[in-house]
Structures are given as C-alpha cells and as structure tokens.
C-alpha cells in the first residue's frame, strides 16, 4: 500500500518549522547583542550576573528537595499499595491526578490563604513551595514508579526476602529499589525539568528561582533573556534524552505532561 505520501511530508515539514523556527529565532536573537555583528556577548553577560547563579542555584536546591520528598512520599506508598493494599489503588491514583484538576495558580492561591495566617503559618518557610512542587511531580513520579513496580513480581520478591529473614529496610533498599531504579530515575529527571522551569509557585510565594529571574530580566533587558531561554530549553531537552537513554530496552517510557 504505497501511496504518494506528499501530504504526510507536508504536515511533517510544517510541524518541524513550527518546532524549530522559535528555537532558531531565539538563538539568532541572542546573538545580536553587539550591533551589526553576531556574537556570544549575551551569553557572556548572562553568565556574569551573580543574580543568575543565585537564582539558578536556588532552583537546583528546590529541585533536589522536591525530588527527595517526592521519592520518600511516592515509593513507599506505591510499594505498599502493590504489596498490601491493591484496593487503595484508585484512591491513591485519584490523589496523584489532582494537579490536573487544581491548576498551579489556584493551588498557590489556596496555600497562601490557608498557611499565610494563624493557626499554622508556613508561608515564611519554603514548605509550601516544596509541597507545591511535590504535588506537581506526583502524577509523573507515581506513574513512573507504579509502572516500574508492575513490571516486577513484587509479591514474590518481598515474600522471598521476608522468608530469608530480611527486614523492611533491607527489602526496600536492597530488593525493591534496585529493581525499579530506571522507573524512579525517569520520574526524577522529569521532576527536575519541571522544577527548573517552574514559575508560578516561586513568583507568587516569593522565592528565588530560575524562571522567576528569567521573567525579571526579561522585563528589563533584551538578548540575555533569550540566551537563558535556550539554556532552559537545553535543560528540558537533556532531561528527556536522559529519560530515553536510561529507559532504552524497557517499554512504556513515554511521558505525557500537562499543567503549565
């Protein structure tokens, strides 16, 4: 069934133009800082600003904390659901999908109104920020880990370990974790990409972050924001490549994201 696939080529090329034109334009724009010549001046200026390192470093810190909390929250929960409470699966799944129902800006609104005043004031700490990021990461982390656990025989492994006299700590760290390493890592990389580009929580809760900094300098300067936008794109791109690379050979590594 070889038909002329001119139309298919046309649609594909259209898609590629749509994909690459903004990236190319951004690159071209970022090179135009010096009048009349193309140069990497914008990148030099961008990387000289201490504000960049402060905000980028902050985002790295938030990402690390988010990943840590997300793993600690999701892995034992997903494991427990598989091992002891399969009937809790629909409820847990429902909770992990909540970020699709409550947009980030609405959640921030709720968090500020709830924890901005007595009896429990949390807005002076980064706790609402990290909690918000963990909520954002929940669908991806949970789905990743859940798929990982589904692919191994969790009951047999756990019972084998138990019958050999292993404690729970040993079971989790020596038996389960090594088996779902790839699943956890893809969740980790996606969470990293999300947190590094996230703007809503940081800006509205008032914490330094890369995207917040980018927006700030975007309002004041030209060229450097475009240079840093490409850096941001590079981060997302490399995280996706890492997910593909570690997931090679395993099935079902596709990630569908939402919530911007």
């Amino acid at each position: 069934m070889r038909r002329v696939n001119l139309l298919a080529w046309f649609v594909f090329m259209l898609g590629m133009i749509y994909f690459f034109l903004p990236l190319f334009s951004t690159f071209e724009f970022s090179l135009r800082m010096k009048k009349g010549v193309y140069s990497f001046e914008a990148y030099r200026v961008a990387f000289q600003d201490p504000g960049f390192y402060y905000n980028f470093g902050s985002s790295l810190l938030w990402a690390a904390l988010t990943i840590l909390c997300s793993i600690l929250l999701v892995v034992p929960t997903a494991y427990w659901v598989h091992w002891r409470l399969p009937k809790a699966r629909p409820i847990v799944e429902f909770v992990t999908l909540m970020p699709f129902v409550i947009p980030a800006v609405v959640l921030t609104f709720g968090l500020i109104r709830l924890y901005g005043g007595p009896p429990l004031i949390l807005t002076a700490t980064p706790i609402p920020l990290i909690a918000g990021y963990v909520v954002l990461s929940l669908p991806y982390m949970y789905r990743s880990v859940d798929a990982g656990l589904r692919a191994i025989d969790i009951r047999t492994l756990t019972e084998a370990a138990l019958s050999l006299g292993a404690g729970w700590g040993t079971i989790i760290t020596q038996v389960i974790l090594p088996n779902i390493r790839v699943a956890i890592l893809s969740g980790v990389f996606l969470t990293f990409a999300i947190v590094m580009g996230e703007y809503v929580f940081a800006s509205l809760l008032g914490w330094p972050a890369f995207a917040y900094y980018l927006e700030e300098i975007g309002a004041m300067r030209a060229y450097t924001p475009q240079a840093l936008s490409l850096v941001s794109f590079g981060i997302t791109w490399s995280m996706m490549m890492l997910i593909q690379w570690i997931g090679r050979g395993t099935r079902g590594a596709e990630q569908v994201a939402a919530a911007h």
Binding site: R150, L228, S229, M240, Q255, A257
Partner: protein, 312 residues
Amino acid sequence: MESKSGVGVKTLQDTRQAEKGALEVRPSRAGSDWIAWLGLLPFFLFAVMFLFLPSLSIFVRSFQDRGGNFTFENIIALFTVKDIINAYRMSLTISLITAVGGGIFGFLLAYAVIMGGLPRVLRSFLLTFSGVASNFAGVPLAFAFVATMGNAGLVTRLIEQIFNINTREMGFSIYNIYGLSIVYMYFQFPLMVLIMAPALDGLRREWREACENLGGTEIHYWRYIALPILLPTILGAMILLFGNAFGAYATAYAFSGSFINLVTILIGAQIQGDVLYNPGLGNALALGMIVIMSLTMVGYVSLQRRASRWLR
C-alpha cells in the same frame, strides 16, 4: 507485563500458591487491614495538608463575605461582574482554540509519521521532540516567541523586509489572544502527538484487511472503522488539551504581562494584591476554575474508558 520467573522464583511461586490461603486471609482481617491503611498515612497526610485543605478553604471562603458570614454573593458576582465574565470568556476561548487547533494538527502530525509512510527515524524523532516541547512551557517559551514574532523578532523582520512594510505602524500586534494561541500551540499539539501515537499504533492491520476483503475503500475504512475507534481518544485528548491551556499562567504572564485578561492572570493579580477588592470573590474565582477543570477531567476519564474498549 511478563514477570521474569527463573527456576528459583518459580519454586517460590509454587510455595506461595500453596500458602495462598494463609497469606491472603490475614490482610483481609479487620485489624490487620487497619494497620495496612496506616502505611498510607504519610501520603494521605500530605494530600490533606497540601491539596484538600487548600481546596476546601477556597470552597468555604467562596461562600463567605468579609465578616465571615455565609453568602451566595461571590458566586453570583462570578456571573455578573464584567471583568470576571470577560476573563472566563477569554480563558475559555483560548483553551477552545488551542485544544481544537492543536488537536487537529497534532492528530495529522501523528498520522503522518505513523501511517503516512514516512521513514521510521522521523517517527522516533518526532516523539522525542514532542516529549520535550510538551514540557517546554512558561517563561522561556514566551521569550522564544517574542524573539520569533515580537517587534524585533526574526519572522517580523523577514516579513517587513520582504513586503517592505512596518507592522507596528500598521497597528499589528501579537500580544492578543491569537498571538497567545500560537504560543500555546507549541506545547499543545506535541501533547496531542504523544497521546495519539499509541492509539494509532493500536489500530490493527487485520481491521483494514478485513475492510478491504469486504470490498471497502479507504473512505469506508475511516468512516466505519478507524474513526469510530479513535474518536473517544481524539475527543478525550482534546479535552485534556483544553484543561492544559485553561490552567496555564506563566506562559501568558511572561508573554504579555497582564494585557491578556485570563482567569489565571486575574487570580495571580488577586494573590499579589487584592485587585478585586473582595477576598471572597478571589476564592470564588479560583473555585470556578476548579469546577471547570473537574468537568474536563470527568469528560476525559469517561472518554478514556470508552477508548480502552478497542485500544489498549
């Protein structure tokens, strides 16, 4: 999914089968069950603190006036205050445009690489890129499009040079709902590609062959087989796209500041300073978003259920 059952594992599995009664009766006993639920306590505690209580507080405060008394006024205001109606209209319009537009184009693109006879390498390339692009949103995306079609953008300059015109003097601006739609499309149709690709893969060759054997044409195949099977997936994906655009904030804010009066932007402004001069109204505004997002999720889930009848 296949479990890797070696010889050792197999024996264990047999033992397990033998012990099945002993092992599986125990967790179902009431006391033990209660302890099992305790294992999910940290997760539910987190969910209550950072998801349900904030949502509940939005819900409760939507029905409170300044003094904390019960009132329907905020909800009524949602349908009567002009700024709010406009914001909802704007958000719904842009979500609809980008859901339908992104849905159609994303479907065509997925169809082109999967069934259009293009080289296989293009297919994995497109899927990788869709993964990246659907996650690439917010501030950097907005800046990329400013550099593309803003006043000094590459495309703007090209058009101006080719046609020898000044777009700015002609009163042309991209900082409106249509310009923003073009920006949103950058993460919308890749998402469509990611959802449609597995569905198109799930169309069995036997179905097409059966159709051809019965004397059906390409049109018959699409009209009576492929489209009815794919339709729930297509509609479900479009609904997901709709919700995706409806909840977006950072992209719109970085692209146009507060020029485009979306619901999310209004909520952001309400957080930074009580621009509506009524805290309860801000809560009602947020509640309206949750209601619309819940409706889209219900629609998505029910269509998903239909879709999985033929495709899995």
